[in-house]
Each structure stands twice: as C-alpha cells, then as structure tokens.
C-alpha cells in the first residue's frame, strides 16, 4: 500500500500543475461558495465557457477522450489527478461534465461520422453545453418507463412529452433525449435516442426550485418538436442500449469526479466549541463528542473508499465493489451531519440571522443533502444494485418486463 504517485502519474501531475499555475489562481478560502457542476447565473456560465476554451486550446479538455477526437488519451487516474489539481484553484463550475463525460463518449460509440464531427469538437471547446433529457415525471428510478413519444412523419420525427430533473437545461444549448418510438413492444425495447437543440421553440424549459432554495434543475416541455432522421443516435428501438452507455459513463464521471463539497466532520468540533449545551461548552458534552466521533469515522471511511476506487483506476481496472457504497452512504451522512449542526444551535436551530454563518451553513447542508440521496440513483436503487449485482441475490419479480408498454 502506497499513497504516492507512480512516476508516470507524478509527471502528469507536474505538467498539470505547471499549466494551472500559469493560468489560474489558487483558492484562498475567500471565494463564494459554488457548485462543482452547476452554474447559478449567466456570468458563471460565461466564465465556465471561457475557462473551458482555454483548457481545450492547451489540451486539458476531454482528458480521457482519444486523441483522434481531440482528447489527451489520458488514463482514468489521469482524470482523477487533473480533478485534484484543478480543485485547488478558483475555477468556474464544470458545466461541461454532461457533454464531455456522458454525451461525448456515447456519441463516439453510437454516433455516425457526421454526428461525431458535429458534436465532439464543440463539446470539447465549451461552445456547446449539453443536458441529459432522460427522467420524466412518471419515470425516474424506472427510467425505461418514459412516455415522451417520437413518431415518424415522412422523413422526420415529431416528438412530444415532458422531461424533468434536467440539470442545467436552462443554460444548455443541446440535449440528449430518450423517447419512446414503439409502445407496442415491452418497455426496454421500444425506445430511441435523439440529439436535440434546446433553442428550438418547441422546447420550453422551466427551472424547478429545490428545498435548498437553489434552482439547478428543470422541467422541460417538448411540444411537436420536429427533427430530421439525422438527429437519431444509433438505431430505431436501440435507445435503451444507448442510454446504458450514457449511464455507464455517468457512473464513471462521478467516480472520478471531485467530491461533492459537503462539510467536514471536523467543522462540527469547532462549532461545538463555540456553542453551549446544558450550561457548558457543547464540546464537553459526552453525547456531542460521541456523535461527532462517529461522523468522523464514517467520513474517513468514505474518503478512504475513494482511494480504493482510485487504486482500481490506477491499475487500469473498473472501480469494483467499493465504488458502489460511496453514493449510498454519503447522502445519509451529510443529512445527519447537517441535522446535528443545526441541533447544536439549540433553540436557534433552523433560525438564522444575517450574520450567523454557522446556522446558515448547517441549514444549507441539511437542505441540500436529500438531493444526494435521490439524484443519480436513489438510496433504494443503490441497495438493489448492491444486492443483485454485487451480492448476487435473486432479482425482484418484475411484472412489466414482457408486457407491451401500451398494455402496462
């Protein structure tokens, strides 16, 4: 066991660091809080585009893409190293994660030559921003239950339906859209994937406000969107296969991505030293100490779990069993820590004055955490995946697998 870089990894890190030093400013803690992947306003989008263009010009965009598509042919661990190094700098949010991490690799596998030419270079340079039009009001965890309908009309397709939870749709230029083309076959078989332009007037985007107050995702309404057949990605009725490629790349992007930036358990130690409980500093209270110690132990476990994932990547293996637990445990830990941070405030729990950073910070943690437990596969879906794919337990009995979608 060794935490150091291999010689190749160290050389890659040094190069990345050299370029970053010349082109970006180190974080000094004074930066405004921002999301890693979502822009909050047009200014952040503009800054993100500018940063992406500079990275692309210097060869630091699409690191794991093949050179033939403008990438660097870097290993997954190269991507991890870049993310670690870039994370030390005050850079705008990476709104290109879906385009470069999900859509690009999907188009490389399933796209025509024309589609590759149209999509890949502009995704790399940040000219296009992509969103993922998959989930629907009636199809979240059960993605294959989508109802957005694409019908043939002459040589064209006409698409109508509704998507939801679409992160970044309000500032995206393009979307990868899963639609049902044949409802007379079982649900996984009758879908087709399309590439769409979000500026089409047939597409309306409406931001959804989250319980944390932010609005990073959207409802997307599609009303008679007319597309040429050249917008179809891979074969008719091959949509599920294409979607699985996208989802596999999504898992990969998340596993090499930066941590989601939640609070450190040690911050609770500092907070407990500042507030009183039962007439003395809360940090002297045995129950408080016990909770914080358990949070530290769990958070360390997650951190070292990510090292195990990196080890698999470094050895050129797919992340193994360890990769599946981080997602399941992180959201719950963050939620409990947020709640405990609020509780430490005592009667002031949930109340925040403008100058009370503690209360605002922990309230935000608490109200953001539920999203971690739902987005990208809910806790319940993660447990089923662990149970069936890792432990090899018999699958749930499915009543919908062989029935035509229209009869469900």
């Amino acid at each position: 066991m060794d935490f150091s870089d291999s010689p190749e990894e160290a050389a890659f890190r040094a190069k990345a660091r050299e370029w970053l030093e010349a082109n970006a400013t180190l974080r000094d803690g004074s930066e405004k809080a921002q999301d890693h992947f979502m822009a909050r306003d047009a200014d952040e989008v503009a800054r993100a585009r500018d940063w992406q263009a500079r990275k692309a010009e210097a060869g630091w965009a699409g690191l794991t893409w093949p050179r033939a598509f403008g990438g660097r042919d870097a290993t997954p661990i190269g991507q991890v190293i870049w993310n670690q190094e870039e994370g030390r700098y005050a850079v705008p949010p990476n709104v290109f994660l879906i385009g470069i991490g999900l859509v690009g690799p999907t188009v490389m596998v399933h796209g025509t030559e024309d589609q590759k030419k149209a999509v890949l270079p502009r995704a790399l340079t940040g000219e296009d921003i992509w969103c993922q039009l998959f989930s629907e009001p009636a199809a979240g965890s059960d993605l294959a239950g989508i109802r957005t309908r694409a019908r043939r009309d002459g040589d064209d397709w006409v698409i109508s339906g509704q998507k939801v939870w679409t992160s970044g749709a309000h500032y995206s230029s393009h979307g990868i859209l899963l639609a049902r083309t044949d409802p007379e076959v079982p649900k996984h078989k009758g879908m087709t994937m399309f590439l769409v332009e979000m500026s089409d007037p047939a597409i309306q985007t409406r931001p959804i406000r989250q319980i944390s107050g932010g609005a990073s995702f959207n409802e997307v309404f599609i009303d008679d969107l007319r597309l040429p057949d050249s917008a179809r990605l891979d074969g008719e009725s091959e949509g599920w296969k294409v979607a699985l490629t996208t989802l596999m790349n999504e898992r990969f992007s998340i596993s090499v991505g930066r941590a989601s930036g939640g609070a450190r358990a040690e911050e609770l130690i500092a907070l407990a030293a500042r507030v009183q409980r039962n007439g003395r500093p809360a940090i002297e209270d045995g129950a408080v100490r016990a909770r914080i110690a358990d949070f530290v132990a769990r958070q360390r476990g997650l951190e070292f779990t990510s090292y195990r994932v990196m080890t698999s990547l470094s050895r050129g293996e797919a992340p193994g069993e360890e990769g599946s637990i981080g997602k399941l445990l992180l959201g719950r830990l963050r939620q409990e820590m947020g709640a405990f941070g609020m509780e430490l405030a005592g009667t002031a729990a949930g109340v925040s004055a403008a100058d009370d950073d503690d209360a605002a910070r922990w309230r935000n943690e608490y109200l953001t955490a539920p999203g971690n437990r739902i987005a990208g596969g809910s806790d319940e879906i993660q447990r089923t995946i662990i149970g069936e794919r890792i432990l090899g337990l018999p699958p749930d009995i499915r009543v919908d697998k062989t029935v035509p979608f229209s009869k469900l």
């Binding site: 066991m1 060794d2 935490f3 150091s4 870089d5 291999s6 990894e9 661990i77 991890v80 040690e266 130690i269 030293a273 003395r280 940090i283 002297e284 209270d285 045995g286 100490r289 016990a290 914080i292 110690a293 358990d294 530290v296 132990a297 769990r298 360390r300 476990g301 997650l302 951190e303 070292f304 779990t305 090292y307 195990r308 990196m310 080890t311 698999s312 470094s314 050895r315 069993e321 360890e322 637990i325 399941l328 445990l329 319940e380 993660q382 447990r383 089923t384 662990i386 149970g387 069936e388 890792i390 432990l391 090899g392 337990l393 018999p394 699958p395 749930d396 009995i397």
Partner: protein, 370 residues
Amino acid sequence: MNFGFSEEQDTIRETLARMLGDHATLEVAHNRLDSGEGFDTATWSALAEGGWLGLAMSEAEGGSGMGAVELATLAEEIGRSLAAVPCLPVLCMAVPALQSAGTEDQRKSFLPGIAEGRTIMATALAEGGGLAPDTVSAKVARDRLSGRKAPVTFGAAATHALVAATDEEGTSRLYLADLAAPGVTIRALDPIDRTRPAAEIVFDNTPVDLLPGSDAAAIRRLLDGAAVLAAFEQIGLAGRALALTTSYAGDRHAFGRPIGSFQAVKHRLADMFARIELARSNAFFGAWALASGDSRLPEAAAVARLTALDAVQFATEESIQLHGGIGFTWAADPHLFLRRGWQLKAELGPAAMWRERLLGHLADTPRAAS
C-alpha cells in the same frame, strides 16, 4: 496511488484461506463451543508449521520478515474462519510489544518459541472493566508483580503473559510473566465466546521482567496497532456472516420466491455490505499507517475500530434476524459470529472508549465530564 493489496499479498491470502478452510471449519467452531475446550491447538500448530506465526518477525527473530499488511491479511482470514486461535493477543499484541519495547535478549528468548507455537504469550492489559494505560492498579515493586488482571484472553491456555502494571514511580509499563512462576493463580472465566478461553489471573508477588521500552505512550501505540489488526479480524468475520446470510436468503423460499428477492431482505444485506466495506476502507488506511509508521496512526486506529465495531454488530445481529427462527438456535451458525464479534469488542474496549480517543486526538479538548 496504490491503496490495495499486492499480488504477493493476495497469494498469501489465498494460501491462508485454503489452509484455514481445511482446519478451522464451522463444524470445528461448533464443537469447540459445545465442549468448552476453546483453544484449537491443531490449527495453531498448522499455522506454526506453515510459518504463519512468524509472519511479521524478522528472519533473525525466527520469522519470515513480512510486515503489518501481511499480518492484517492473516487476521482477516482468522476472522473469516472463526479459528479458535490467539491471533490478536499473541501475534498482534505480544509480538509487536516484544519487538518495539523488549530487549534483544527478551526477543531472542521468546520470539522463536512463539513462531514455533511452543510459547503462548497472552497480553494482560485489562482490569476493572478498563484497559491500560488508563486503568491500571496492578503494581510492580522490586521486580515482583501483584494485582488482578481480567479478562486475559487465552489466559487459561497461555504459557506466558505480558502484563500492564505501574512501576515504583507510578508509570504504566509492560512486564513479562511466566505463568508457571510462583504466586500465579489462573481462574477460567465464562466468556460470551467460549472458543476464546478467557481467564482472570491473580499475581501475588510474582517475579517479572520489565520490557524496558514500555511506557504509557508505548502501550497506547500497541493498542492502536492491535485495533487496526483486530479490525481486519472483525471485517473477516462480518464478511463471512454476510456471505452465509446472503446464501441463505438465496436458498430459503417463502411466499413462492427466494426471500433474498424481497427488498426488505435484499436492502438489509446491502446495508450490511456497505458498512463492512466502509470499515474495510478505514482498516486499509490503518494498515498503511501501521506499516509505514505514519503519525496519523492514532486517528486511523480509532476510525478503523469504530467502523469495524459498527459493521460487526450490525452484520451479526441482522444475520440472526434474516435467518428467522433457525438463526436463534444454538445449532445454527449465526450466533458463532455474534459471539466472536462481542469477544473482539470486549478485548480492546467498546466504541465509547475509542470515540473519546479519536476526539481527544482531533479536538485536544478536555475529556467529557462524567
């Protein structure tokens, strides 16, 4: 970045698993529990013959010169097999204590015997419900030890013991005692896991030999290292409990389908898996810190211990639950794991103790007032 085992270490694991699979079956564990014989001398001898007891001793000491990571592998496989052998007190505590705090003479006198399985050196750190160096009332004056240590795991089967006691200046130290010496009274206790024959040992003016490098800080380091290695043993047993239960849930049918296809069962098993893997990640870091002498060992040991305790308790309790009525029977396997889990908890102290060690280390604040 290399946060995993090497191919050589994986080979060690496979060899050990095969060997323990031949000797230490669950049938053997049931027999030991029923008969109260405890110590599985046959498996211990087989480990000695295979050279495994000297794994982490240098060649000069009679061993094969490997380190903490390999020892962790051994501990995990012992845990998985439930072998009734004193891996933790002898290999993970007495040996490192001799190596780090003993004289060359002491090492030469005892390590070869331990490697060959002739010498069983128990570690007597506990008394009065606590552990040295925080709880020590046994005393040594003029090289004579008096006091009561309990529980001493494998104390009823040991030839020697390393005993924590205060010296004439009140400093906690470790002393080597020959359990055949005058003034030693050994009384067998009834541990929750009878495959680990615990004892109360009373010393009355017993001649002992000081480990000169031992003091309170050295005892704490010893406990930290033991906590890391015990975490591997705990993960091994929790993983086996999970595997048994997963297999049962796949076989057992109710309402016309395997119970493992119900989410109420499947998700519980997934939670067992998640807690075990979280504990494994912390244990990996602990093994690295122990092997590399990193200054973060106290923190690494505490988090490894805390998540391992949690994983074992959850996995073994839920293993009984998911087996249904059969899981509550003496003849079934799940309680073997529950018992060993509690035993490993008792031997190095409960979560409350390690939470306080962790927070004391991180926060540098006054201890909680009682």
